[in-house]
Amino acid sequence: MLDEIDKKLLQHYQRGFPILARPYEEIGGQLGLPENEVIERFRRLSNEGLISRIGPVLNHSLLGVSSLVALAIPLDMIDSVAEIINSYEEVNHNYLREHYYNLWFVVTARSAQRLDEVIREIEDQSGAAALILPMEKNFHIDLGFKLWQSAQTS
């Protein structure tokens, strides 16, 4: 079970992780914990799969060209089409959703030409026409994910 300290670690260090020689000691200082306890708690949260990693979150738009793409695929073909889509290293998210357009994935490529090529290849192999939905404007400033109301105060 997560205690209040775990919740604070998960909530408050999604951004602003210290960039200095001993970041875990700095976090410990902020929360009143010894450095080794901060490290042990992060290790436990990682081992339990609650943390994917501690590291940089990159800006998509600076890394290449990306688009959300949707396909309408008959249910009995989902697995085989998903396998084709997932085989591209340019695809980093792929969700099955309840809708006529049921496969939703994000393609991020090094160039617009490569993005187009990946989408055309997936269309050819799946036999479905893609809805190509690149982001035109972002309205949300990404400050990390708010997990608990109670751990909000800082």
Binding site: L9, Q14, I54, L58, R110, L131, M135
Partner: protein, 162 residues
């Protein structure tokens, strides 16, 4: 000399859980630790790195339900509604995207997460309340299954300087 791409590749799998994680990364890159701090700060200020921190696994923490809500709005209303949605703590992403009428008329996307279906539905209802009559039609697409999810990474094929 390590490039920015080298630096991001060395860090993106995660900082090690040891007292001096940056020193370990710097050693792998064969650069001075203070040089690493300086360059990480620089990549943050240029926006290449959006933030540094832990990346929670929402699903494991209990956020089992995610809904992609899509909204058909008049062009002149998109910015105002988008900014309104973007300020809601219930919304994790909010984007304007192109439409393909009549099959896909939705120009605004907002992602909503919750621990229960009820929680997600309540959040969606409150968004409907905010948008009011400006919305011509809306749909909620729940996720049934995650088929692939990896953090956005620089991979070996991308050699250009990020």
């Amino acid at each position: 000399m390590a490039t920015d791409s080298d630096l991001i590749r060395a860090m993106q799998a995660g900082l090690p859980l040891c007292p001096e994680p940056y020193a370990e990364i710097a050693a792998r890159l064969d650069i001075d630790e203070l040089e690493l701090h300086r360059r990480v700060n620089q990549l943050m200020s240029t926006g290449t790195i959006r933030r540094i921190g832990l990346v929670p696994n929402h699903y494991k923490i209990g956020y089992r339900f995610n809904a992609m809500t899509v909204w058909a709005l008049n062009d002149e209303d998109v910015d105002e509604v988008g900014e309104l949605f973007g300020r809601q703590t219930s919304v994790s992403h909010c984007y304007k995207r192109p439409t393909y009428p009549p099959s896909w008329p939705y120009n605004l996307f907002a992602m909503v997460h919750g621990r229960t279906l009820d929680e997600v539905n309540q959040k969606v209802e409150s968004l409907k309340g905010l948008v009011g009559e400006r919305c011509k039609s809306t749909e909620v697409l729940f996720s049934e299954k995650i088929l692939k999810k990896t953090g956005l990474r620089l991979n070996s094929g991308r050699t250009e300087n990020a």
